[in-house]
């Protein structure tokens, strides 16, 4: 049974594994995930006075960890922040996917059918593929994609967190989706 008074010394053994798995599911880097968990514990220790006994200690720690993860995405995006014109960061731009003159799909980029996606890849393989493809996105695009579709923040919240305009946000989301789609096809989707 969860004690009504938090005992910080017990947090690593009691909640460490669960928090670590959660952090690692977002950042894909063991060292960073460990740091996020440690920061969570230290922030919780600093904020012990704000803990309300009627809330679950576990829930409280997860709320803090989620905030740390958002902060991590923000640092990731801001570390390599570039202007709208430079958003490709050396990666693909929309010009790589569409014919510049007609605005229609470039021949090699036309989406293949994923009708048999489930048959093509086992669920575990699919999850690994999307994680690998997410990890390959340029920093800003990866952060925006994760904040929107994994953390499920709204577009407004993301713009506020990252200090970007709505049009900048739309470009980042669109390019992230285009690159992810292409990457997933390279991993076997639509090839059967």
């Amino acid at each position: 049974m969860t004690p009504s008074v938090p005992i910080p010394a017990q947090w690593p053994d009691r909640y460490g594994d669960e928090l670590f798995r959660f952090a690692l599911s977002r950042v894909s880097d063991t060292t960073v995930a460990e740091e996020l968990v440690q920061e969570t514990f230290l922030s919780a220790l600093d904020g012990l006075a704000t803990f309300r006994a009627e809330a679950s200690e576990r829930t409280w720690l997860f709320v803090i960890l989620r905030r740390k993860i958002i902060d991590h995405y923000r640092r990731q995006a801001r570390a390599k922040q570039v202007s709208l014109d430079q958003i490709s960061e050396g990666g693909a731009t929309e010009a790589d996917f569409f014919n510049l003159e007609t605005g229609h799909w470039a021949d090699a980029q036309m989406p293949a059918s994923w009708l048999n996606a489930d048959a093509a890849l086992e669920q575990e393989e699919l999850h690994e593929a999307i994680q690998r493809c997410q990890d390959r996105l340029p920093a800003q695009q990866g952060a925006v994609f994760a904040m929107r579709f994994v953390e499920e923040l709204s577009a407004e919240e993301i713009c506020q967190e990252l200090g970007i305009t709505a049009s900048n946000y739309w470009v980042l989301v669109h390019r992230a989706k285009l690159q992810l789609r292409r990457c997933l096809e390279k991993h076997g989707l639509g090839k059967n």
Binding site: F20, F22, H104, Q123
Partner: protein
């Protein structure tokens, strides 16, 4: 006003649609485009699937990932003791 749009514009609209309701004009243009463009029609489904899979993949890893190492737990206990 109903305007013919390119695949580039159609896919942009598709990626904006979940976050903001499209005005009548762009919505109608997108609808018409999707009626004749099989590739954007595929993209419309795939862009939704990718978002679902990313969420599902993260949820799966929350359950099946590795545990925190004993050394890391010890380091954290020490930091907590030092900060208490």
């Amino acid at each position: 006003m109903l305007r013919l749009i390119t695949c580039q514009n159609a896919t942009r609209l598709l990626d904006q649609q979940p976050d903001r309701a499209l005005l009548w004009g762009p919505r109608a243009s997108l609808w018409v485009h999707l009626r004749y463009c099989p590739y954007c029609k595929r993209y419309a489904k795939q862009t939704v699937l990718m978002a679902e899979w990313a969420r599902a993949a993260a949820s799966a890893r929350e359950q099946t990932g590795p545990a925190l190492s004993a050394a890391a737990k010890e380091r954290m206990r020490e930091r907590l003791a030092a900060g208490a």
